[in-house]
């Protein structure tokens, strides 16, 4: 590893805004806005008088957006160890595959005219079912949180079908915020489960929280600290004993590919974050996709429509052996018997799902297993190089270091000056000043060494340096308080200054 990490020699100097009118800068909104009069054949009372929008030539636009991209730090810029986000490298060929012209069809096309699309959906349902150990998978939810809502609605419908009115969903305190919010959106009271001293589920606390009111327990495994819930079989039994269902948050599935499957651990419902585990881009915030897998018993509650293969005696089974290449399966959409309805206007984020299919088909069994092996090796190697304390273990694809006396958010800002993206900060709260770090399998030893050097250099930086960081990036320390106190959310608001 490098001992002499110093922003002066190490930094990745980003492009920056200049508000200097004298200097050429392709700022889109404020320099070329046109107001055009709206004239159409519609009666005047139905139309607006004018439309004012940016008006730029294509070369200017190309420069504007290229300039903006230079102010960004992405997975193609360098290490991006944002814990719990699995910021993997996104294979470039999947971009072409996603926009295959034969796949760019309208969602209201009749099934007999889109057999290719349905087959790809079916095959992906099947792939994901095998990977998660689930009997049936829906591709409809357009993001992880949408998958959670889907899964909780499935649980609610299951209980209702049993005339069993339950009111609570249990969520560990270290869970993703979406778990709490999704359960609340489905109308449940959220019961927060405190972590045990070893960072795992505290079985006594769980026993105290479980009751006839428990609709589901939402867990991720390995958990947010990267720790495998070793008591998972017992946890599943405890939840099932009170009639509840066990829900798996797929955010951390990248730790387990080929080593363990949620279905085998006793989970009844799970979502997959394909923009994490299966390398589809995060896109600066989306789109992702959040397919949901369930056990055979819950398949009748899946969203409408579901895709199945009908010419191979496969009308009942939702997963299992799919027709291999060259066979003549016929595919159809159908409404599961007790479907929860819809979570997306159509069939979800198609372009993302095609990328998922391509990634899984590219890696196969060996590649998927290797992805997890290297993700876990990378996290362990990186943690070993850090001077910050890493309080819990043994961890898998991610770990949570503690910034100790330092403010984790300040430390993160300073890390930017060393040319790396910082980890997730101040969460989970079980670790003081948490630096939640997930390097993914995409990093080489050399880039992990660079990352470790950045962490260690920051650990040695004084408080004043940390408080004023970053220095070398497109944006310095942003005044978040002012941004929230006096929000300027549009270019018109900026123009009014």
């Amino acid at each position: 590893m490098t001992d002499d990490a110093d922003p002066e020699t190490f930094a990745y100097d980003q492009a920056r805004w200049t508000d200097d009118d004298e200097r050429y800068e392709p700022l889109l909104s404020e320099k070329n806005t046109d107001a055009v009069e709206v004239e159409t054949s519609l009666p005047d009372e139905l139309t607006r008088d004018e439309l004012e929008l940016p008006s730029l030539s294509e070369p200017e636009l190309a420069r504007h957006y290229t300039r903006l991209s230079e102010m960004n730090y992405g997975v193609d810029s360098g290490p991006f160890p944002l814990g719990s986000c699995t910021m993997k490298y996104n294979p470039k060929f999947t971009e072409d595959v996603a926009v295959h012209p034969d796949g760019l069809v309208h969602p209201d096309r009749s099934a007999d005219t889109v057999q290719g699309t349905l087959r790809l959906q079916y095959e992906l349902q099947d792939y994901l079912g095998r990977i998660g150990g689930m009997d049936a998978v829906t591709l409809q939810p357009p993001a992880g949180a949408a998958g959670e809502l889907t899964g909780i609605l499935v649980a609610r419908e299951y209980h209702r079908a049993n005339d069993d009115d339950r009111s609570e969903v249990i969520v560990p305190e270290s869970a993703h915020g979406t778990n709490f919010a999704s359960a609340a959106m489905a109308g449940y009271d959220v019961v927060t489960l405190p972590s045990g001293e070893d960072g795992r589920v505290d079985l006594e606390a769980l026993a105290a929280a479980l009751s006839e009111e428990t609709a589901a327990l939402m867990l991720t495994n390995p958990n947010t600290l990267g720790l495998f819930e070793r008591d998972i079989v017992e946890i599943a039994e405890m939840v099932h004993d009170v009639g509840g269902l066990l829900y798996y948050d797929g955010a951390n599935l990248n730790a387990l590919l080929g080593r363990a499957r949620p279905g085998d651990m006793g989970f009844d419902i799970m979502h997959y974050n394909v923009h994490k585990t299966f390398a589809t881009p995060h896109g600066g915030g989306g789109p992702g996709a959040g397919p949901v897998g369930v056990t055979a018993e819950l398949a009748e509650f899946l969203p409408d429509p579901h895709v199945r293969c009908v010419s191979q005696g496969d009308t009942d089974r939702l997963s299992g052996q799919s027709p291999r290449e060259g066979s003549d399966g016929t595919y159809e959409r159908y409404t599961p018997d007790n479907s929860i309805g819809k979570l997306h206007g159509y069939a979800g984020n198609w372009l993302v799902l095609v990328k998922t299919f391509a990634y899984v088909a590219r890696l196969g069994d060996e590649g998927l297993a290797d992805a997890s092996a290297k993700a876990v090796l990378n996290a362990n190697y990186l943690a070993e190089q850090l001077e910050y304390e890493v309080p819990f273990g043994p961890f898998h694809h991610e770990f949570v270091a503690s910034a100790g006396e330092q403010d984790a958010a300040d430390a993160a800002k300073r890390m930017l000056d060393y040319g790396v993206h910082p980890p997730t900060t101040k969460w989970p709260e079980i670790v003081e000043e948490a630096l939640m770090t997930e390097p993914t399998e995409a990093e080489t030893k050399r880039s992990l060494d660079q990352l470790a050097a950045a962490f260690n250099a920051v650990r040695g930086d004084d408080e004043e340096t940390l408080e004023t960081a970053p220095e070398w990036t497109a944006a310095g320390r942003i005044d978040q308080v002012a941004a929230a106190r006096d929000p300027e959310l549009s270019w018109q608001a900026l123009d009014e200054e």
Partner: protein
């Protein structure tokens, strides 16, 4: 790279050995702390393939789709908007970084109504004719709240405002209307619906899309409190329903808005910067009391919408919208000239699409058209719906000829 491993895990054998040695493990398996009883020792049965083989697999799979000219719309269109652009189009002060699609944006609007309502009411009024996905997603979004969705009748393709007036009362917390409607008709009485909603302090939510909004009266002037819709009419092609939910609202609702908001702010050197702001509304901070569970959204699609809209600029955007009116009018006139077809069914101005009445049963007409290479919507026993944009206009001569063959 390990043989048969992930091509995207770039470890050399030497690096792997050095890393394993640094962590004191013989191999990667030693790092997995997984009890034997839940160990998966099986295989998924998924064959690894080269990049070229995957391309060819997708190509072969999707080639089973029929190559049809699509005259399909009803919420998903083949033409594209960013937060910055959305604000101008709606006249409302706040637009978030996107919802998943128009249907989930409508669902989120209804839950917003529960947070800003000034009464104890729970009625959400929506048109009886609504794209099925939108209605069913709305049903799921309200299902965890104290809300009841009820429908109001439509009259000739747009809202029956008199019927709506008799249905609305103090218990009404939200009124939803669309322009253009799912039948392709421009809502001419949106301002009256706005006033009606306002009379009962109900939130008026208007569904539209960025192309239509570039010529139609600004929603804010019509009294709209929230605008939802699919902004992917710009920026992405037909993508089997993948879109981007437009969500804009008036500034008074700012602290109750679902999803991410980006604001401008200064940094410590006085430069302008941008930041996610007002995050205390969001799930990662507010948890079960968050305004929504949304985290990942459709940001990349929003970027494409922004680029497309900027690329068009205001003049070409207005021209495109004007064409949507003209093209629908012209096609309706041509179709009306076909024996056995009358169009448009509604005596309204249309945008992109319209409903046509067929003497023969509509499913039979649609089947025959499909056999001739054209996909249309069946929306009633004797009703088909036709959508036209610049992407299918070259095929319309052939379509009208085919319709002439099958309409009688």
């Amino acid at each position: 790279m390990t043989a048969n491993g992930s091509p995207y895990a770039p470890h050399t054998d030497a690096d792997r050995e050095a890393m394993l040695s640094a962590v004191g493990a013989d191999d990667e398996e030693a790092l997995f702390d997984i009890p034997d009883d839940v160990r998966f020792d099986g295989e998924f049965g998924i064959e690894a393939r080269g990049e070229r083989a995957v391309r060819s697999l997708v190509d072969r799979t999707l080639s089973a789709n029929d190559d049809l000219v699509e005259l399909l719309g009803r919420g998903h269109y083949d033409h594209y908007v960013p937060s910055m652009v959305e604000v101008e189009l709606t006249g409302l002060g706040v637009a978030n970084c996107s919802m998943y699609d128009a249907a989930t944006a409508l669902g989120e609007a209804a839950t917003l109504a529960t947070r800003v309502r000034s009464t104890s009411g729970s009625r959400v009024l929506v048109p009886e004719r609504l794209q099925k996905g939108r209605r069913r997603v709305l049903d799921n979004y309200v299902s965890g709240h104290d809300l009841a969705v009820e429908t109001y009748p439509m009259d000739d393709g747009t809202a029956d405002v008199e019927a709506l007036a008799s249905l609305a009362d103090e218990e009404t917390v939200m009124v939803y209307a669309e322009t253009p409607t799912v039948r392709g008709a421009i809502e001419e009485r949106a301002d009256e619906i706005g006033t009606l909603a306002d009379d009962f302090d109900a939130m008026f939510v208007l569904g539209s899309d960025p192309v239509a909004l570039s010529v139609l009266e600004e929603p804010a002037s019509l009294g709209a409190d929230v605008v939802v819709g699919d902004a992917a009419t710009l920026g992405v092609p037909t993508a089997y329903g993948m879109g981007i939910g437009l969500f804009a609202c008036r500034e008074g609702y700012l602290r109750q808005v679902p999803g991410r908001l980006v604001g401008a702010a200064g940094d410590d050197t006085g430069r302008r910067t941008y930041t996610l702001t007002l995050q205390t509304r969001e799930q990662h901070i507010r948890r079960e009391r968050a305004t929504s569970n949304i985290c990942t959204n459709q940001a990349w699609v929003a970027l494409r919408t922004a680029m497309h809209a900027a690329w068009l600029g205001p003049d070409r955007l207005v021209e495109l919208a004007g064409d949507c009116v003209e093209r629908a009018r012209e096609l309706a006139a041509r179709v009306d000239g076909v024996d056995g077809v009358r169009a448009p069914v509604h005596d309204r101005h249309h945008f992109r699409e319209f409903v046509a009445r067929t003497d023969r049963p509509a499913p039979a007409v649609a089947d025959d058209l499909q056999a001739a290479g054209y996909a249309v919507h069946v929306v009633g026993d004797h009703e088909i719906q036709l959508c036209t944009t610049e992407t299918n206009e070259d095929a319309l001569d052939g379509f009208v000829a085919a319709l002439r063959e099958v309409a009688r």
